[in-house]
């Protein structure tokens, strides 16, 4: 997880022609997207454009109707793949934190390493304390989640995912449920992960943040990728009419 002098880039994730429908609702209409290791890809687009569904498909929380998802060279959409083993290598963070309310912060972080990976509880705790300390939450380890602010809870949720040593982090609008003054502390955590070379695919409404952190920005509308490229290109000189319209709306809402 620490930054290395040389970062050999390889393919972390390839999404190929993915379709997903919920009943009559055709949410993803053929998505192709590649993420290399150490890249940060930001998905932007209006609510309902398919960002969350795409992340959930990658995490195998939803099964795709057509297409393939290739994770470090393995086609994980095949029938004989155990989704649980795949998910242990991906970290997912949700908009509403979803911490386990009945467990203390420390136990929230150690539950999966101990129960899914079979780590010794003492080792898992030591590692969890180190992670909590790194993100300034060591003093919250013995608290229950409800005692924490939204920003703190979301940071714990990120740490909980990191404790599994994921090869890829999926972040689904992780700041959308937060009060404005708490957004910064969560974004700082993501910045640090990016600086340390974490491969990330994230859906976000924070355009300034996306411009700052993204290797590539991907604009989705109506279940298709309309435009993608480096942040300067997508934000400053968008080619497609739909991208221009979306960014115009965001701009008038004061979010850029």
């Amino acid at each position: 997880m620490r930054s290395e002098p040389v970062r050999p880039a390889g393919s972390a994730l390839r999404i190929e022609g993915v379709h997903k429908s919920f009943g009559e609702n055709h949410v993803l209409k053929g998505i192709d997207l590649a993420v290399d290791t150490h890249q940060v890809i930001c998905l932007i687009g209006a609510s309902g454009s398919g960002k969350s569904t795409l992340l959930r498909c990658v995490d195998l929380l939803e099964t795709v109707d057509a297409g393939r998802i290739v994770f470090f060279g393995h086609d994980v959409t095949r029938d004989d793949i155990d989704g649980i083993l795949v998910r242990r290598q991906m970290g997912m963070v949700f908009q509403s934190y979803n911490l386990f309310p009945h467990l203390r912060v420390l136990r929230n972080v150690t539950l999966a390493p101990v129960k899914a990976l079979g780590m010794a509880p003492a080792d898992a705790e030591a590692e969890a304390m180190a992670l909590l300390g790194r993100f300034g939450l060591a003093d919250k380890a013995r608290d229950y989640p409800e005692r924490l602010s939204g920003g703190q809870q979301q940071r714990v949720a990120i740490i909980r995912a990191l404790a599994m040593h994921p090869k890829l982090m999926l972040l689904d609008e992780v700041t959308s449920a937060l009060d404005p003054e708490l957004v910064g502390e969560v974004l700082d955590v993501i910045r640090e992960l990016a600086a340390n070379g974490m491969t990330m695919l994230l859906a976000t409404h924070e355009m300034a943040f996306a411009r700052d952190i993204a290797t590539r920005v991907v604009f989705l509308e109506d279940g298709v990728i309309v435009e993608e490229g480096p942040p300067e290109q997508v934000f400053d000189s968008p080619v497609d009419e739909r991208t221009k319209r979306f960014l115009g709306r965001v701009l008038s809402a004061g979010r850029l």
Binding site: D59, L61, I84, L85, R87, R88, Q89, M90, G91, M92, F94, S96, N98, L99, F100, P101, H102, L111, A112, K115, A116, L117, E146, A157, R160, A161, M164
Partner: protein, 318 residues
């Protein structure tokens, strides 16, 4: 003009009318003060009045019942039959030489049946609930069986289940199955009947855990049974503790129904034997009092948990 905000800015026509009235010298300045003072005193008076009314009416009703009981033509007879202190004491301690058992000792049997039954019910009901909640196609036949079990035993009165098991199983003359004591059959009937109810309580609890909790457990790579055990079930059980305790208040007293089997000398059966030996029903009154002594503390404890739970949830909102 101090009075106008009371009428609200969203109703301009009224506030216009109001302001024209209030512009009379003196009235505008005085109005709010009078309004609050009168309102507050009236409120206090109303509250006090309501408290007095409710106390008086409660005392009147209870008093009327007592008077009716005391003045009833058969009052003396009923009091001697049900509330004879001498008989109540004799039934409580029992006297084997006279041919009747102690209602107090009988209650110990009720408590035993309750304690053993409670544990078995909690386990069996959980198994039924988990089977019903499972999505695995392999478990489909078991799932149907669980649905049938719950439908059947929730619908059949406990006393019929007791009679069927207590007299039916011994009549089969099977090894082991037919040679148990009436105590065992009684507990078995209670467990079979109550686990059908309690499994539904569990199911309500399991359904109350938000799906997002399951999604985040899955995203961490927990297997379904691990997620169930460490994430879903603990949260479900927390929510259902009050309704579970409520069911157990009811189980506590339903142990008295085992008396229909005759051979288990629990409190109700002891009272029955006393009344048929001495022709006095005071033993039943003792049994009733003893059951109340058991169930009331549990009921108060349930209330306490519910209040604490509600307090927590309200605190969570702010």
């Amino acid at each position: 003009m101090t009075g106008t905000p009371v009428l609200g800015p969203d109703r301009p026509s009224q506030s216009m009318e109001g302001s024209s009235t209030l512009q009379e010298p003196g009235a505008g300045a005085e109005f709010p003060q009078n309004f609050f003072r009168r309102r507050r005193s009236r409120l206090l008076r109303t509250q006090r009045g309501a408290a007095i009314t409710s106390t008086v009416s409660t005392v009147t009703v209870i008093g009327a019942i007592i008077v009716a009981f005391l003045l009833a033509p058969g009052s003396r007879q009923v009091r001697a039959t049900y509330f004879n202190l001498h008989d109540m004491w004799r039934a409580f301690i029992g006297d084997p030489h006279e041919g009747f058992y102690s209602v107090g000792k009988g209650l110990v049997v009720n408590i035993e049946m309750f304690m053993i039954g409670e544990v078995l019910i909690l386990v069996l009901a959980l198994v039924i609930a988990l089977v019903r909640q499972s999505r695995s196609p392999v478990l489909f036949p078991l799932r149907m069986l669980a649905v049938a079990y719950v439908d059947f035993f929730r619908g059949v009165p406990l006393i019929l289940v007791l009679l069927a098991i207590g007299f039916g199983l011994p009549a089969l003359y099977l090894p082991v199955v037919s040679t148990q004591s009436a105590f065992v059959y009684g507990v078995l009937a209670l467990v079979i009947s109550y686990s059908a109810y309690v499994s539904e309580v569990y199911r309500a609890g399991l359904n109350s855990v938000p799906f997002s909790q399951i999604a985040s457990a899955r995203s961490l790579g927990l297997r379904p049974h691990t997620a169930m055990r460490y994430v879903v079930l603990p949260q479900a059980i927390r929510t259902i503790i009050p309704p579970l305790l409520n069911t157990f208040v009811s189980l506590q007293k339903d142990t008295a129904l085992v008396s229909v089997l005759g051979a288990v000398i629990e409190a109700n059966r002891a009272a029955e034997i006393y009344s048929s030996t001495v022709f006095n029903y005071s033993g039943y009154t003792v049994a009733a009092i003893l059951f109340l002594l058991l169930t009331i503390p549990l009921a108060r404890f349930t209330d306490h948990l519910i209040a604490r739970d509600r307090g927590r949830r309200l605190a969570g909102v702010t």
